[in-house]
Point group: C2
Chain length 137, copies 2
Amino acid sequence: MDKEELFQFIAEQKTAFIGSVNEQGYPVIRAMLAPRKIDGNDIYFSTNTSSNKIKQFTANEKACVYFYKRGRFKYQGISIIGEMQICTDQPTKDMIWRFGDKLFYKQGVTDPDYCVLKFTCKKAEYYCDFKIETIEF
Amino acid sequence: MDKEELFQFIAEQKTAFIGSVNEQGYPVIRAMLAPRKIDGNDIYFSTNTSSNKIKQFTANEKACVYFYKRGRFKYQGISIIGEMQICTDQPTKDMIWRFGDKLFYKQGVTDPDYCVLKFTCKKAEYYCDFKIETIEF
């Protein structure tokens, strides 16, 4: 799998799983909505500024983003490690905003509880049929 | 959600997501088959002794186990942090073994590449409809 195929696989998934490291050093996993945008080696998500993961990424930017697809006969998973940056600047918030977000953020695109997570890929492992491939960025 | 309901939810899921912390301090997520057994606050998985996660849990026992269910109108997720122990003793391997495992471990239940992961729950967060509940063990 090359980088282009990897991002194609990601673009087809509806759910992302994000890992952070908490204050006590434990890994913490959560499901997220699919990424909003992929640009070069960066993957963008929208989220709540007030959430626990924002506290965790502020203290420790080390992150994992995971995608998987489980078919009847085939399981594929991509685990990517990298750095997570929290973007609260208006140009980035404008870029990622979608109309339907109004449902969650009453003040709209300038809502202080709306922010963007920007994940920069560093290294990926692709699992398929009990084999692992490594992809460096 | 109480502990009983939490373990009931887990027992209904076909996939588990496991988080470890790697040598460089990055969280790493992988999908796993559903747990083999739940006993008290312990959740058992079967896996390959030679896998990367075994190296990571040997160096750092801090772990996360995540389960989720995404319905049409409702999303539920459970993220549990705790300690992961690697069991290579024969009584535990015997307890967790299932007949079909022969497909993956040619030497059967004594195969040195077959081992058991025992996760002890410490604290869980249950996400449902944008609300979070905390469950302590």
